[in-house]
């Protein structure tokens, strides 16, 4: 190779950045010296060009291509030394540009084509598909597709441009199916937690990110993420978590009065009952069904042996023939009503067969003082006559007039009108009623001077209704005297010892406030899951599984023998109470929940949402009407 081949007269200047080069080089022949021209052409096939010098034409070429040509121009003026044509040939750079352009154009065409042919973005080829949804969301979006959440989807370019310049809250769509006890855009869906605080607006997508496939792997929050909003920041449960509050976790009074101290330390120790008592906590509590709470078994399973017979002994006195000073009953009407033989009208001094006072129930119903015969005798005798004439109806009317909703049907369920009429007839004639037989099996019956109700057993509907009635009327009286009588009646009905069925011996009564702001008393008939800390969770079953059945309960629940448990139930305020157990302290949990042992993430014990659930429509089954073949 020549050393000076790069000189201007040795070789042409290479311009690889030009779009074309003129080339025989592509055929591995001597490359073209000229071109390309502005129009891209390379200019002829001649190697030598005619040149006029000193009155003579000759052919010549550039020095680097051989210098002067031996042969001159032909008759037509062209030099005869010809080479293959110098065709313009794309440079590598130009080819690269073309390939790039084609690739970009292909991609754009594919995107545009996909959008045009498949605007809904359904099927396999979707150029806006950000990834598969979780299984549940995929199911619920199969009808509307992406539009279920993204309003701009398949709405055309104008909607797309609008969407770019406007903010869209994707979380709005979530509320179509998911609901909570509070607003979805409030932290923890709980406005009580954010009182007097400035908190950010919450969007579901902050935590729940979709398009990650079948598994939605962002249901977990880290401690750091919780710390974002919480002012009280700490590293972990064992490091920085506040101590549990006093009374934890026994904040609310039990729905059932069960004094663990007296039962465990006194009754079950008593040789009389020890064989009936449970051998361990599991004897009463259903470990197999445990979760947040370990529910006790039913009354019939665990209480009935000792307490079953007590229920039937506690009767309700609806009516009692009281002592009367004078007889105001119209004898003719009574004889007619009772179809009794006519009596001689002698002017004897009236001497009441009864020396009792009226029952508190009847005294309340008639709103008469039970200790003043002069006041109560007239209305009481009118009631007796009315009962003799119409049996149960006047009592029904009296009961129904006490409450907004008529309750007599429930309160007098199973009452035999004949019995009531006969008792009224006897009492009207100033006689004791003599029942044909003893009331053995429970229910309504009349006996001598009283109409009584004997509960059949646990969950007796009439007894329950009377307790509820007594509580309802005790808080609904405007008249002071009547209110006093209502309270007296209530106290008798809910009395541990004398109250009907002794229901309230075990079932707690709570005072609640209605929406109208009225105070009401409510019996806790059922064992209640205490869920007044909806953002906390605890699974007894998993803890019992790890610690075993024998000592797992007493490891955390330590009996407090000093606590006056039963005194807590004397008032109707469910918040003021002393538990049978010592408060559980943080250190108890830290026996296991420490860095080196068991998970101590926030979500182990805390739940973000407030009562998360699905909307009812999610469970609605669409009626499939078969098409009728015509």
């Amino acid at each position: 190779m020549e050393e000076n081949k790069f000189d201007h007269d040795k070789s042409s200047y290479e311009r690889p950045n030009f779009p074309y080069k003129c080339g025989r080089g592509a055929m591995w022949r001597t490359p073209c010296f000229k071109g390309p021209k502005i129009d891209g052409s390379c200019g002829g096939t001649q190697d030598c060009e005619p040149f006029f010098k000193e009155g003579r034409w000759s052919c010549r070429r550039a020095k680097e291509f051989g210098g002067s040509c031996n042969e001159g121009p032909g008759p037509n003026g062209e030099c005869s030394w010809q080479r293959p044509p110098c065709a313009p040939k794309k440079t590598l750079r130009s080819i690269r540009g073309q390939i790039s352009f084609l690739t970009v154009a292909t991609i754009i065409a594919l995107l545009a084509g996909s959008l045009a042919l498949n605007p809904e973005g359904r099927g396999l080829v979707s150029v806006s598909d950000a990834g598969p949804l979780s299984r549940s969301h995929e199911k619920f979006t199969e009808t509307k597709g992406c539009s279920s959440c993204h309003s701009a989807h398949a709405q055309g370019p104008v909607a797309w441009i609008k969407a770019v310049f406007s903010q869209e809250d994707i979380s709005v769509g979530c509320a179509n199916c998911h609901s909570f006890s509070g607003s979805g855009s409030i932290s923890h869906n709980n406005k009580d937690l954010i009182k007097d605080r400035e908190v950010r607006k919450i969007e579901c997508v902050i935590c729940h990110r979709e398009h990650n496939g079948e598994r939605m792997n962002n249901l977990k929050l880290t401690g750091e993420q919780c710390n974002t909003c919480h002012k009280n920041k700490f590293d972990s449960f064992s490091k920085g978590h506040p101590e549990f509050p006093e009374k934890y976790p026994y904040f609310n009074r039990n729905s059932l009065k069960f004094d663990h101290s007296s039962h465990l330390n006194k009754h079950f120790e008593n040789p009389k009952f020890s064989d009936k008592g449970p051998k361990s906590c599991m004897g009463c509590h259903q470990v197999t069904l445990s979760d947040r709470e370990v529910r006790p078994q039913a009354f019939e399973m665990i209480c009935v042996e000792c307490h079953g017979s007590q229920i039937k002994k506690k009767e309700l006195v609806l009516l009692r023939l009281p002592e009367f000073m004078q007889n105001y009953i119209d004898g003719d009407s009574l004889i007619q009503a009772c179809n009794a033989p006519a009596q001689d009208k002698t002017e004897e001094e009236f001497l009441s067969v009864s020396t009792e006072i009226p029952a508190l129930v009847s005294s309340f119903l008639l709103n008469v003082p039970e200790d003043d015969p002069e006041t109560y005798e007239k209305p009481m005798q009118e009631l007796i006559l009315a009962m003799a004439e119409e049996s149960i109806l006047p009592v029904e009317d009296l009961l129904n007039s006490q409450t907004e909703n008529p309750l007599a049907d429930k309160l007098l369920l199973g009452m035999n009108p004949e019995v009531l009429k006969r008792a009224a007839c006897s009492w009207g004639l100033n006689l004791e009623y003599e029942p044909p037989a003893e009331a053995k099996f429970g229910g309504w019956y009349a006996d001598m001077l009283e109409v009584r109700y004997k509960p059949i057993g646990h969950r007796d509907p009439v007894a329950k209704s009377w307790v509820e009635f007594a509580l309802a009327v005790s808080t609904a009286q405007d008249d002071e005297d009547k209110a006093t009588r209502a309270i007296a009646m209530r106290d008798e009905v809910i009395s541990d010892k004398e109250g009907v069925g002794g229901c309230v011996k075990c079932h707690a009564i709570n005072e609640t406030i209605t929406k109208e702001g009225k105070k009401e008393l409510e019996v806790e008939w059922k064992y209640k899951n205490v869920n007044n800390r909806p953002h906390s969770q605890y699974s007894h079953s998993s803890h019992i599984e790890i610690m075993g059945n024998n000592n797992s309960c007493s490891n955390c629940h330590i009996l407090n023998s000093q606590a006056d448990y039963m005194a807590s139930f004397k008032s109707f305020d469910g918040t003021e109470w002393s538990s049978n157990f010592e408060s559980i302290e943080k250190k108890t949990c830290m026996q296991c929940h420490v860095k080196s042992k068991i998970n101590q993430d926030c979500q182990t014990c805390h739940v973000y949402h407030l009562n998360p659930r699905f909307k009812k429509k999610m469970f609605a089954v669409k009626k499939q009407i078969p098409e009728i073949q015509k």
Binding site: W28, P31, I99, L102, A130, P132, Q225
Partner: protein, 267 residues
């Protein structure tokens, strides 16, 4: 070397900063994808600028070798940022998968190109000859012309056509155009062996004068071998960009599409 290490350190620090930032955003329940995605788009745009810079050689915008160095480092940084942004090696969703495929292919072609850029210049230097790629056809034509001239001269002066026949049957093929392309890419010596073999076969049939011409032909063939090596290696050095740049352009288009989709669907 110190400078390269400095650039790598800077890139690594940049990545660490972005990672920490995204982690912080994640922990504060924010959208870290916007930060990692923004950083990635910035880096990809910078990578793209290299191609534009090459089209503007007259501007004093840093020497190309520095751009190349930064392009390489930023390329690896972009790969790390891509993984950080996607949260996985292989994202879900068709269009993002197309984008990922293009990105990975671009990266892969870039890595192959980088390897060639690091190995081939040494190999080219070792050849012991300098060639301008665009002039290789010219050089080959010249060598061919010289060899043909020698063959003609040999036939004329020695009166023997042994060498000429042999040239037409074998060596002519070799001088026609670059040969042994694949072997040359991997630094092989097939062309050299082939020439030696062809000359050795013929040598015993030649007289003294013809052998002199044969030696000259052999010398030209050796130069041709070197040019062929140049051709093969330079072709690879130039042509890998035929894959890398279109792929990068396509990836950029998909990245812009991704931006549009995000703005429309997740604003």
């Amino acid at each position: 070397m110190r400078r390269i290490f400095g650039y790598i350190s800077l890139a690594f620090i940049f990545f660490i900063l972005i990672s920490v930032w995204t982690l912080k955003i994640d922990n504060s329940l924010g959208y870290s994808e916007f930060v990692s995605g923004g950083a990635l788009f910035f880096i990809i745009s910078f990578l793209f600028l290299f191609n534009i810079r090459k089209r503007l050689p007259f501007l004093p915008l840093w020497p190309a070798h520095k751009w190349f160095l930064l392009h390489t480092i930023m390329g690896f940084l972009a790969l790390l940022l891509f993984w950080l942004h996607a949260g996985s090696l292989w994202p879900k969703g068709l269009y993002v998968q197309i984008l990922a495929s293009l990105f990975y292919l671009t990266t892969l072609s870039g890595i192959v190109g980088l390897i060639m850029e690091k190995i081939y210049p040494n190999l080219l230097t070792r050849i012991g000859l300098e060639c301008i790629y665009e002039r290789i056809p010219h050089d080959i034509a010249k060598i061919r012309k010289k060899s043909e001239k020698l063959i003609l001269e040999c036939t004329e002066k020695t009166g023997s056509d042994t060498l000429a026949k042999h040239y037409l049957e074998t060596l002519g093929w070799f001088f026609q155009r670059p040969r042994f392309f694949i072997n040359n890419i991997f630094g092989g010596r097939d062309s050299h062996n082939w020439i030696i073999q062809q000359c050795a076969i013929l040598e015993r049939f030649l007289n003294e004068a013809e052998r002199e011409y044969m030696k000259q032909i052999f010398t030209l063939a050796e130069i041709k071998i070197k040019i062929d090596h140049h051709y093969s290696l330079q072709t690879m050095l130039k042509n890998w960009l035929l894959i890398h740049i279109p792929l990068a352009a396509a990836a950029m288009v998909m990245a812009v599409w991704h931006l549009i989709v995000i703005q429309v669907y997740f604003n």
